[in-house]
Symmetry: C2
Subunit: 176 residues, 2 copies
DNA sequence: TTATAAACTAGACTGCAGTCTAATTTTACA
DNA sequence: TGTAAAATTAGACTGCAGTCTAGTTTATAA
């Protein structure tokens, strides 16, 4: 991870990694399915952090406010801890290999937290929404991924959080 | 493109391509910046098709209905013409290189059509939405990308269109 | 025509992710 | 302890994207 930070993911070869670790390629590929899979280690940490974020969400806020605050903090965390290059590598390699078991797990912890927060919003809503909670959870996941993917693909000067702010707002408007 | 369809993108090497074309690597890389860039050719076609779709949208439909129908047809087109593997390759390689000028152009034709259709929806809406048209266009792009990215990452048996249906519905609910 | 520049082509070469096989170390258990 | 199986390690090797350099063809213009 240190080498990646110093030189960028693409500019660090596996040979360089194993040399820096006094290890060997055989050993490396015994433990990891691919170069990209090393990044997985971080996703376990991320899910831990999200859970903490969730538990620290102020109870006095409205459900919508809680959902909004949560996603905002997730985005801030992603940008600060991972950064655009790291996210690009994860989003890119996830599509081309079976690496990233954490990331590609449709039942990952983060998604469960999304669901819990959306359930709160539905419950507090005066009218029943036309979509089921499963559908709304899916829509929310798609939205988050879209925001991140867009932010990686079209690098601007805005933060990830800013870039996704209006999409999130509009999503919340969808609840009467 | 024929080789890719037969054997899959990853299983066709550039050597194989140039051999099948009685060409050479030097020639290939004179015309294309990368292997992935060949796929670009298709995006020009796609944008042509979208424009036609847009022009054929029934005028008697509500603006929401028109937007919905349009995106549904885009998704159907993407799935049928490109397919999951092709989309995965494009979405993946777009993050790792400067290839795909079409795809990575924030002003591409498709996005303009989105904007036009959203403008219709806003105009027909009784109350002014809290977001500007530019913000809504961005949110809509992010949503579409998210739906496609999700569909590529978590392959299920559902069509792309089905997978994104509820996200799209919820987006439209966001307009009062 | 011919000189010169620009566009294009050829294919050997480089760098790197990932594989393969043979060794070495660790574990399990008699 | 001894020994067989399993886990781990080493590093040479393979396959392929992309580069490099030296040609060859085509366009331009006197």
């Amino acid at each position: 991870m240190q080498l990646f930070k110093e030189k960028g993911y693409k500019n660090v070869s596996v040979d360089e990694i194993v040399q820096a670790c006094n290890s060997s390629k055989g050993s490396f590929y015994h433990h990891f399915k691919s170069k990209a899979e090393i990044l997985n280690e971080h996703f376990a940490l991320a899910d831990k952090y999200y859970e903490q974020l969730y538990n620290e969400l102020p109870i006095q806020l409205t459900p919508k406010g809680r959902l909004q605050l949560f996603l905002e903090n997730v985005f801030i965390y992603l940008e600060e801890t991972f950064g655009r290059e790291f996210l690009s590598v994860v989003y890119s390699t996830s599509l081309e290999s079976e690496a990233h078991l954490y990331f590609r797990n449709p039942n990952r912890k983060l998604f469960m937290l999304f669901e819990a927060l959306i359930a709160e919003v539905i419950e507090a809503s005066t009218t029943k929404p036309s979509l089921s909670i499963k559908q709304l959870k899916l829509a929310f996941i798609q939205l988050s991924m879209g925001v991140i993917y867009y932010w990686c693909t079209f690098p601007e000067d805005r933060s990830l959080q800013e870039s996704g702010a209006s999409a999130l707002e509009h999503f919340l408007n969808g609840f009467s």
